[in-house]
């Protein structure tokens, strides 16, 4: 909640520094973002990565998978709710069924029996819902500890965290905090390989991660089939993929940045 109150400040910052040099137009706050990125990296190197590495080395893969499944299952109702908010009622129903099957037959979500039955896990959150509703992503942001985001996704995350996270309801508070911590460590442990690959692939980690994040989010908003960018050898993604035979024009979010207030 405290977080939501700080949103206007972020927006103000965004507006204030909007006009800087010739950097990427999607990232007007690059200098500030880079500073936060360096901070996050330092924290990660010093604490998160060593802890996650130890966690992975100590716990067997089977156990780590149970942990992932457990938290993944708790997320499914909110995923279903977002499906419904986006008008994807069948997907929403399936996510609900996942929760029912996995919580019961799957023993409190420890086993992802729904996937074995062919009911697939979806990836939804409120940031995607906002995107689906036509809200542009706004400037790219690197949040302290939470890393890559955009103005829109930050707002979305606030809603997810406040309303869509059952772990927040865990009581006593000690149990809740332990659950938060366990989830955090497990998530970081699962990203160990990805971060190693990023480390190797990127000339400039900041730029590589930013572009990957923005591409990924765009892909998720369109559920895996964003309008295809034409294969062209000239510059940037500026050109709009207008020609592509749009399969479901009705559902497509409005153009690009529809001014993220």
């Amino acid at each position: 909640m405290r977080f939501l109150r700080s949103l206007p400040v972020v927006a103000l910052l965004a507006a204030g520094c909007a006009a800087t040099g010739e950097g990427d137009p999607r990232d007007p706050l690059e200098p500030m973002n880079r500073a936060v990125f360096r901070f996050n990296d330092a924290v990660d190197e010093a604490v998160a990565k060593p802890v996650a590495t130890a966690y992975r080395d100590v716990l067997h893969e089977e156990i780590r998978n149970r942990v992932r499944n457990f938290f993944s299952n708790l997320g499914d109702p909110w995923i279903g709710a977002n499906d419904v908010l986006q008008g994807k009622f069948f997907d929403g129903f399936e996510s609900g069924m996942r929760f029912v099957f996995n919580s019961t037959i799957g023993l409190f979500g420890l086993h992802d029996v729904a996937s074995d039955m062919g009911i697939e896990k979806r990836n939804e959150d409120f940031g995607q819902t906002l995107g689906r509703w036509g809200l542009g992503e706004g400037p790219y942001l690197v949040l302290p500890f939470l890393s890559s985001s955009t103005l829109r996704d930050t707002a979305g995350w606030g809603v997810d965290f406040t309303f869509g996270d059952p772990v927040g309801e865990f009581r006593p508070i000690n149990l809740r905090n332990s659950a938060y911590l366990l989830r955090l460590v497990n998530t970081r442990a699962e990203l160990l390989d990805a971060s190693r690959i990023l480390e190797q692939a990127a000339l400039d980690k900041y730029v590589f991660q930013r572009d990957a994040y923005l591409q990924r989010r765009r892909n998720l908003v369109y559920d895996g089939s964003p309008p295809r960018e034409p294969r062209s050898r000239d510059e940037e993604p500026a050109e709009e993929p207008a020609k592509e035979p749009a399969k479901e024009p009705a559902k497509e979010p409005a153009k690009e940045p529809a001014k993220a207030q």
Binding site: I197, F208, E235, E236
Partner: protein, 210 residues
């Protein structure tokens, strides 16, 4: 009876035709074959499984590399700057970019553990020369990760010119990096950066899994 027979013969003829043009494997079949083959190789080979990076790179160079069109990939990643590069610069760029991608691919493969692959049927017309082959990596408790190979038809069979993982295009991702670098330090500067990056692997190979 006659129709069945002619159908059979027709089928036989097309099989023969396909095998006559060895490289003309359909793009989705090619992806499936290569993926299955490589995964089997790396899971069965004890040295690779225990982190022998040089050997893993050998496998990639022998089995995977021939199916990539690094010229196209580099040109796409360079965007407008490609036309400003001299033939010599183009050659060196392609070479360095190839090395970088092979090593990155090796780390991605090293992270492989028991995930299942779901090879999606190809949705393309037989006349298409530019297709996307969809594969999905399936893992319990997580959304399947799509891997999409953009492939073009060339004289020597189908070649990959871009890979998208979870909707992130490798080529598009490098395009921003490359154009920023070229703007700052020029094409030769970019070549130097790539070289330095590639050399840093040799100096200190990052810790492997296990």
């Amino acid at each position: 009876m006659k129709t069945i027979l002619s159908g059979l013969l027709g089928g036989l003829a097309s099989v023969l035709l396909a095998s006559a043009h060895g490289q003309e494997l359909a793009p989705d079949v090619l992806v499936k074959n290569v993926t299955t083959e490589v995964v089997e190789l790396i899971t069965k080979d004890k040295e690779i499984a225990s982190g022998n990076r040089a050997k893993l790179i050998q496998v990639i160079e022998a089995r995977v590399l021939p199916h990539f069109n690094f010229g196209s990939m580099t040109a796409l990643a360079m965007g407008q700057s490609w036309n400003k590069a001299t033939p010599e610069q183009k050659k060196r760029l392609t070479e360095e970019f190839k090395t970088l991608l092979v090593r990155t691919y090796a780390s991605a493969l090293a992270a492989y553990s028991q995930q299942r692959f779901d090879f999606r049927p190809l949705r393309a017309r037989p006349t298409d020369t530019d297709v996307t082959v969809n594969v999905r990596v399936i893992q319990s408790g997580a959304q399947p990760v799509p891997i999409d190979y953009s492939m073009e038809k060339t004289a020597s069979g189908w070649k990959v010119y871009d890979v998208m993982v979870g909707g992130v295009s490798l080529v598009a991702n490098y395009r921003t990096e490359f154009s920023a670098t070229v703007r700052e330090v020029g094409i030769d500067g970019l070549i130097k950066n790539l070289q330095a990056k590639n050399r840093s692997f040799d100096a200190a190979p990052p810790a492997e899994k296990k």
